[in-house]
């Protein structure tokens, strides 16, 4: 009995010691950025922005987490645990927006501020941030592709998954652009799913090259699609006769841009996106309203447009895309 009491006392003291750091920094607000998957360069770069924001702000403790595997269920589980922890705000890049509706509704009921990125259809969010208008971006990628193909021949589109809303919007924006402007372009086997895996993209591209030997153009959706497609094209020795455009990271895609396997890429800087999401969190936590034309202090987000979202939240859009080809990829350090 006596031992049991001593044990309980020790436990209580240990618990107090463990809990005390949290008390010292009681006014720091806990803001967690949840990405689709950890370990992909895109989200590693995003983490730089999150960390940079945290360093500039003493009142916000910013960090980034994400599932080890790209599975919506694992992301839901992480968000649920964060809600249970009682963080102050969540900045989320959803794997699949609709799977998060339930848990985000409860998060907001608990008073947690929710900022999302790449989730225009999500209802249960305070602010959804987009780097640009997705349909316009898809059309832009497609016009680059058409320029290279001479607006003639077979082409196809890749997406991370058909559930990834932005990827679908880019693909559909590209397809609409081609249909309206380039009747010579023939779309074959659209919406190939790479599941955000360069090896899958590579295998798919090889299959497509076998099925459609005359194919001239590829439009990538996931940031690693162009890498996989580029590798397949290099192996087939088709650098000169095919064109590849898509979203991608300069350092990852550089060797393929040099060899000509990938024609051109465009991207928005995930570092800026991570930074801006946390900046929006700060504004929301401070009760400040985001207004049309507001300057968020990051290039490309100097005059954001604000529209109503599908729920009671708003959508904030920048103009933050960057074109990269063989001539300038080395200017970017990521």
């Amino acid at each position: 009995m006596k031992h049991a009491k001593t044990l309980m006392r020790t436990t209580a003291v240990a618990a107090l010691v463990a809990a005390s750091p949290a008390m010292v920094f009681a006014d720091t607000r806990e803001v967690v950025t949840v990405v689709k998957v950890t370990g992909e360069n895109w989200f590693t770069r995003m983490e730089e922005g999150v960390v940079a924001f945290g360093e500039q702000n003493d009142t916000i403790n910013a960090r980034q987490v994400g599932p080890g595997r790209a599975d919506a269920a694992q992301q839901v589980a992480i968000v649920q645990d964060l809600v249970a922890q009682g963080v102050d705000a969540l900045a989320i890049v959803p794997m699949d927006p609709s799977t998060l509706e339930g848990v985000l509704r409860r998060a907001r009921q608990q008073g947690i501020t929710v900022i999302t990125h790449e989730a225009e259809t999500l209802e249960n969010t305070d602010i959804n941030m987009e780097a640009f208008d997705n349909t316009e971006f898809g059309a832009h990628l497609n016009s680059k592709l058409a320029e290279c193909m001479g607006a003639e021949g077979q082409w196809t589109t890749f997406v991370g998954s058909v559930g990834s809303l932005t990827h679908m919007q880019w693909a559909e924006g590209g397809i609409a652009h081609a249909e309206a402007n380039h009747p010579g372009m023939e779309l074959v086997s659209p919406f190939n799913e790479s599941f955000n895996d360069a090896n899958n993209a590579y295998e798919l591209a090889r299959e497509i090259l076998r099925t459609y030997p005359d194919i001239r153009g590829f439009q990538g959706g996931s940031a690693i699609d162009v890498i996989g497609i580029g590798r397949a094209i290099e192996e087939a020795g088709l650098e000169d006769s095919t064109c590849v455009t898509g979203i991608g990271l300069p350092q990852d895609t550089g060797q393929f841009l040099d060899s000509g396997a990938v024609t051109a890429i465009a991207f928005w800087d995930p570092k800026d996106a991570g930074f801006v999401m946390n900046r929006l969190v700060e504004l929301a936590l401070n009760g400040e309203e985001v207004t049309d034309g507001m300057d968020l202090g990051v290039p490309g987000y100097e005059s954001v447009s604000v529209t109503d979202g599908p729920g009671d939240g708003i959508i904030v859009r920048g103009q933050a895309w960057v074109d990269v080809d063989a001539s300038n990829w080395n200017d970017f350090p990521f």
Binding site: A19, A22, V65, G68, D81, A84, E193
Partner: protein, 334 residues
């Protein structure tokens, strides 16, 4: 008489659960044991627990039995049930009625999928790992074809949301349902003739056949039960995420097997207890949430799961029964 010897697996799992809880309490503090977090963690167990129970039954049946199609069938059942019922607003049901109708339909589709598995494995004699890999692709394919690959959004239905989240007597209804299902499966295994026959068949298929145990019908029954549980899991997924999608929880296939093996279910058949499966699922959830609270990388979690799996497999290889004094010594030439 059977349980005179202590069940080392059961004891070990209780110790592991307690150890994680104590470690979490020491490091994170009372926050981890708050009712809200306990409910949140419990709410995450049923999905994986139901699938693990399905795998468990398949494993007990022997012949290297396994069910890889669980999560695919769960997603398909939920999707089919939703497509038949239609959106909540148009269905004319009350919230509770809608939930019950969704459950009834989803379980029926789960049963139908289970019959497909059972017929292929039991009556056509195909190895279960091959058969369920095939049906997994089949179920996934049907789900993609029915939905065009996009998520089916249910919207906010209070009764459905409450089912998975609102605590009744301490735990969400979905958790009570899971425990009820587990209890039924345990009772079936322990108390009924066919349950006992399943253990015997798993121990020695050939002997079971010559002893007149109806192996084919028994296998059909096993996969039907597994399918019905997948159907229940489908509704729980729908309730937790307010949506249904074909690729939700793709990582669950392996996690369900991990849970079953952790629970001491022998892959070679004839051995396994339901309570151990429930405890193993709880231990895995506690560990996952603990890691999420500590903000550790999710790769570390995968690593920890892998270590756990190997550790449990290794422990199972050590046969302690030889050291048990009650066992009569056997002499005579070997």
């Amino acid at each position: 008489m059977r349980y005179l010897r202590p069940d080392i697996q059961l004891l070990g799992l209780v110790v592991i659960n307690a150890a994680i809880l104590i470690a979490a309490y020491q490091i994170i503090g009372a926050r981890f044991l708050s009712p809200f977090n306990l409910q949140s963690m419990a709410g995450q167990v049923p999905e994986i627990g139901l699938l693990a129970l399905g795998v468990t039954l398949a494993m007990i049946a022997g012949r290297g039995g396994i069910d890889l199609s669980g999560i695919a069938l769960a997603n398909l059942s939920g999707i089919c049930a939703y497509l038949i019922l239609g959106p909540f607003g148009d269905s004319g049901f009350s919230g509770t009625g809608y939930l019950l109708a969704l459950m009834a339909l989803s379980v029926s589709f789960g049963l139908a999928g289970g019959i497909v598995n059972g017929v292929i494995i039991g009556y056509l004699g195909v190895t279960s790992i091959i058969a369920t890999l095939g049906t997994q692709l089949l179920f996934t394919g049907i789900a993609v074809a029915l939905t065009g690959g996009s998520a089916q959004t249910l919207g906010f239905i209070p009764e459905l949301d409450d089912f998975a989240n609102e605590p009744v007597a301490g735990m969400p209804l979905s958790v009570w349902l899971f425990l009820g299902v587990a209890l039924c499966v345990a009772a079936w295994l322990r108390l009924t003739r066919s349950g006992q026959q399943l253990y015997l068949m798993g121990s020695n298929v050939k002997a079971a056949r010559f002893a007149g145990i109806p192996s084919k019908a028994l296998l059909l029954k096993v996969y039907m039960i597994a399918g019905a549980m997948a159907g229940v899991a489908g509704v729980i997924i729908a309730a937790r995420t307010s949506s249904l999608k074909w690729d939700y929880g793709t990582s669950y296939v392996l996690v369900a097997i991990l849970v079953a093996v952790m629970a001491g279910v022998r892959p070679e058949g004839g051995h396994g207890r339901v309570i151990c499966v429930v405890l193993a699922a709880c231990a895995l959830q506690l560990l996952t949430s603990f890691f999420n609270f500590l903000a550790l990388s999710n790769f570390l979690r995968d690593f920890a799961w892998g270590v756990l799996l190997l550790a449990f497999l290794a422990v199972m290889r050590v046969d302690l029964s030889g050291y048990w004094p009650l066992r009569p010594a056997r002499d005579g030439p070997d």
